[in-house]
Symmetry: C2
Subunit: 204 residues, 2 copies
């Protein structure tokens, strides 16, 4: 493109962006999964919440049992998970979420989710869980907590001919942005507190 920038404009624009987000400790080449795992470790150590990533489901076909040595899996296959990747408990509330990242800049393609993940979120929501997706725009270095109800609604419209991608402006309007920090890297529990207030569920 042939746009003539005023002298120094590029530099100014970039310093201005840096000024807006002075503390990006998150993505030093970490994946979203690593960032969430580190945040969960922090939350557990601080006794704030007990949330784990579930192990990857594996279909084991062949195992060797060598003498004087531990069992070795010699043939196994990755299976598709029937649930989301993360769940746990925070002050009595059941927390359940999926985490996805994209290099897209303007929208988040729904194809990143699987039907059964959406179904699982809907099932947990029906059981009054606190359910959401954490979406990371890698290139933009931005993180959003999208409530499951919003995602499910968008998904259902898409399956009836609606948009197949969540536009960034839709996400900006309908979710909670998280600023990456230091401890924890992704303070998504702050958003859980807000979601709990919003749902206003009472037990007893």
């Amino acid at each position: 493109m042939d746009i003539k920038y005023p002298k120094g404009a590029t530099l100014t624009a970039s310093s201005s962006a840096a000024a807006k987000r002075p503390t990006i400790f998150g993505d030093r080449g970490m994946t979203l999964e690593q960032e969430i795992n580190e945040s969960n470790t922090y939350y557990r150590k601080q006794n704030l919440a007990v949330i784990y990533k579930k192990p990857t489901p594996i279909q084991i076909v062949k195992v060797d049992y060598p003498k004087r040595s531990r069992a070795v899996i010699r043939e196994a296959y990755f299976r598709q998970a029937s649930t989301t990747d993360y769940n746990g408990v925070y002050q009595g509330y059941y927390i359940d979420f999926e985490a996805k990242e994209t290099r897209h800049k303007r929208s988040f393609p729904l194809s990143n989710f699987h039907e059964h993940q959406i179904q699982h979120l809907a099932n947990c929501l029906q059981q009054q869980g606190i359910c959401f997706a954490i979406i990371k725009f890698v290139t933009l270095q931005r993180y959003f907590v999208l409530p499951a109800a919003v995602l499910i609604d968008f998904w259902q419209k898409a399956s009836h001919g609606g948009q197949k991608s969540l536009p960034l402006h839709f996400i900006e309007t309908n979710s909670f942005e998280i600023k990456a920090g230091y401890n924890p890297i992704l303070p998504y529990l702050d958003i859980c507190r807000q979601l709990i207030k919003l749902t206003g569920e009472h037990h007893g």
Copy 2:
């Protein structure tokens, strides 16, 4: 032994036992894990609760990517889980438990549990989860839901020189017995309801 039974007594005794427990559909050679998984499937289909067994954690060392075929794991090892095996959500409550079976008849050895499982239950309990162990006496064909608080307390006493095995009479007194049924095979959600009432936790 040389006990002389009155004529027909054996038959009577066995019919009497059958009358007491007329519907043992549980252990037709099923493991406790299978019984719980089938119960969880039932609960999910009936929209009563969303509870899953977590996948076994595997450390993957070598993966082959054959052409035109899916990835094959060629070397992997079993890792020890850092949590319990089961968790999920029931009417807004976080449910977390471990399941263990024994062929012992008079007591349940604590060595069936790992330190980190007890620690995980304690952590979840602190976050107001509904936490317990399901214990199956395979030979006796009896199932118990032991509240996590009782298990943790017994564990701590054991580590200070107390008994290393939960006596059956202790379990009978301090837990909830479940009768195996048909749908679900193990109606442990009934006990969850009682545990929720007992803890009397309120959210809001």
